[in-house]
Amino acid sequence: MGTVSQTRAPGPPGGAPQDPPRTRSSRRARGGAARWVIPMAPALFLMLAFFAGPILWTVWASFTNEALTGAQAANTEFVGLDNFERLVQDTRFRAAAVLTVLFLLGSILGQTVLGLALALLLRNRHAAVRGAVGAVVVGAWVVPEVVAGFVWYAFLEREGTLNALLGAFGSEGQNWLFTAPLLAVVLANVWKGTAFSMMTYGAGLSEVPQDLEEAARVDGASGRQVLWYVVLPLLRRTLATTLLLITLQTVQVFTLIYVMTAGGPGSRSTTLPLLMYREALDLGDLGYGTAIALALLVVAGLFSIVYVRMLSKEEPA
């Protein structure tokens, strides 16, 4: 490039000078694009092949009768909207959708309240306290999902820790995974996910200007009023972003539930990801399974819209 502009420099003056700068700048832009594209190409390709590819395949498969085995595996046919028609009529799908929403709401509520409370309590505390509490809470978050599932299984099962504790108080034990499966998995998910909320809210709180709170206090606002009228409105953006992220994480929780209850007893904790697994891999109906996956995307999308609305409503204020 340097050499090219050098050869151009001694060009004739006049109307021409306007031309070279334009070519030069456009050339620079193209050179810039090349510089950007060359190192990005492998990553871009991998993204397309391993990320966009499967998504597109999922969409395609949901319109076919693709199967894991049997004649349909050899001759997969395009079946149009059959899978979606079946979805609408499937009582199990409806039950799973309801359970998914309950699981979502329970998890989001628990994680938000606990995460926010922890973040508020840890504010302005000694670094040692923050470090200690943070380590414990984040520990739960770092633990792999399978391990978290087994930990909670061991805690809640009939001969588990909880019953041993209750037994010490003379209370009769029960298998919590059997009697309250949905509550059990919600609890486990809240336990695991609270750290994430705590950290994002902690970060958000550190951005809240202290002088605003002090001003409110000087005006005679109680601690609760400061929280409600000053801190939370300033935290709304963080809140919405965190809720969005939690929702997207929670809606796809599979391992935790699979390890703890496997969707049972009956289908009392079968959320959409578990139903999808069951249809696609246990029953081998990949076409229908992928249709459920798309429905799951719709559930996540609906929640996302709500949060995006929350964010944009904040703008004018």
Partner: protein, 458 residues
């Protein structure tokens, strides 16, 4: 003009080159061409009390590799319950580079997998095999597809019936040897055990619900249904039967067992490991009195087992499962069995067949029949002194071979079977009455096989 000079890189060309590179880099990962022709990959299940196949395959690998230098037998033991095992094998079958050369396969999935094009027809090889004549006609039926091609060779078969702990039944005042003639007599004995031991002993295990998988469908439900006047599939009209009286009667039996607390706790019955726990723990420790179970239960107690049970022969007895009112032959049984089959993409079918026949040889079949609690399908194995000596109940089992039934060998069966398990689970959890569950099953099956392929019952 200068911009198009050869020294200036063009983004599009660069991107294309990078893409090509990336393609080349990732593209060479798959593909069947990389498979070593001298390696025979075998996929088999190893789970819970079932270690006989692993033991056999280790032996085959060691001996075959010693006899055939240069050949590698690659063992892929998949530790998973039968359903997950099949899913994993099917996923492997889906890609030629990953597909096993030899597959240990439940005979009831053969039609499905043959339809999918995963398996290789073996008629040519089998017919030329000198041992072919030793295999029983039932064996041929179980591994032959509806289009008449052989897709596997069976390792062994089995029967099902009632295992009971004679000590517990005697203490409960039930006369032994116990020979129940109707379902009611089975339930009466269970009630007697409950009356004697209360909650300390589970009187009667009937596998039920989706976590138990095919065991619930075959050991549980179909052992009941085959004792009524109905069946899952009507061979005459070649249609699936829904709304049959026998179906509801079978569910009523399940209902009675769980409603009267004659079975395991529902939560124990809905544990994936229920079969392992029953045979390795509950029976030996005297916590289970009667179990509707396969003839292979002995594999959990013999010296080669995970947890051998010294003296099991003193307590455990086997008796046939009666029909509902003692109708027909008076007793019933169902049979299954696992086979070795060959993947459609086998790298070297000749070599794979050699390994297969080696695993199926007389010596190995005897070993597998003893350790796996199997009923031999080779006539020379059934008469082998080593087998007869180590299989004390061989005669009782052999008596059932004449009356035993088989699952409908249709591609849809595995999915219909899951519908059966769901109906059982709804009943045992009290979510549906037997009538309601039968109705749900009818709808489910109609959806699975199409309205034209179902018929009403008797």
């Amino acid at each position: 003009m200068e911009g198009t000079g050869p020294h200036t890189p063009r983004p599009a060309a660069v991107a294309a080159a990078a893409l090509a590179l990336a393609l080349a880099a990732t593209g060479c990962a798959g593909g069947a061409d990389d498979r070593d022709e001298n390696t025979v990959r075998i996929a088999y299940q190893k789970f819970g009390t079932f270690i006989a196949m692993d033991s056999l395959m280790q032996k085959v690998k060691e001996e075959f590799e010693a006899d055939n230098p240069g050949v590698t037998v690659e063992l892929q033991a998949i530790e998973a319950p039968a359903e997950d095992y099949q899913t994993q094998v099917n996923l492997m079958n889906g890609s030629a580079g990953e597909a096993p050369d030899l597959i240990y396969q439940d005979s009831f999935t053969i039609n499905q997998d043959a339809d999918a094009g995963y398996l290789m027809p073996l008629d040519e090889y089998f017919d030329a095999w000198e041992d072919a004549g030793l295999f029983s006609p039932q064996e041929a039926e179980a591994v032959t597809s509806l289009s008449g091609e052989r897709y596997g060779v069976m390792l062994g078969t089995d029967v099902r019936g009632l295992w009971y702990n004679a000590d517990l039944l005697e203490q409960a005042g039930v006369e032994t040897p116990w020979e129940p003639a109707t379902w009611d007599e089975v339930l009466e004995a269970a009630r007697a055990v409950k009356g004697e031991f209360g909650d300390g002993v589970a009187p009667l295990n009937v596998y039920s619900g989706t976590p138990a998988g095919e065991a619930a469908s075959l050991q549980g439900f179909q052992m009941l249904l085959s004792g009524t006047d109905d069946a899952l599939f009507d061979e005459g009209s070649e249609k699936w039967v829904t709304g049959a009286a026998g179906f509801t009667e079978s569910l009523e039996f399940v209902h009675t067992v769980f409603d009267e607390d004659l079975g395991l706790d529902v939560q124990d019955a809905l544990d994936t490991n229920v079969g392992t726990v029953n045979n390795e723990e509950r029976f030996p420790s005297g916590e289970l009195a009667i179990s509707l179970e396969g003839s292979w239960a002995t594999q959990s107690w013999i010296p080669e087992a995970n947890r051998p049970w010294d003296g099991w022969e003193d307590s455990m007895r086997f008796t046939p499962m009666p029909t509902r009112e003692g109708q027909g032959e008076g007793a019933t049984s169902m049979s299954g069995g696992w086979a070795l089959s060959m993947g459609a993409h086998a790298t070297d079918p000749e070599l794979a067949w050699e390994v297969m026949t080696y695993a199926l040889s007389r010596e190995n079949a005897v070993k597998f029949a003893i350790e796996g609690g199997q009923i031999p399908v080779r006539s020379d194995v059934a008469e082998d002194p080593a087998f007869l000596e180590n299989a004390p109940l061989a005669e009782e089992f052999a008596a059932l071979v004449d009356i035993t039934g088989f699952r409908p060998a249709y591609s849809e069966y595995p999915r219909v079977s899951i519908a059966v398990q769901e109906a059982m689970e709804a009943v045992m959890l009290g979510e549906a009455t037997p009538e309601e569950a039968a109705e749900l099953y009818a709808q489910e099956v109609e959806g699975l096989v199409g309205p034209d392929n179902v018929t009403g019952g008797s």
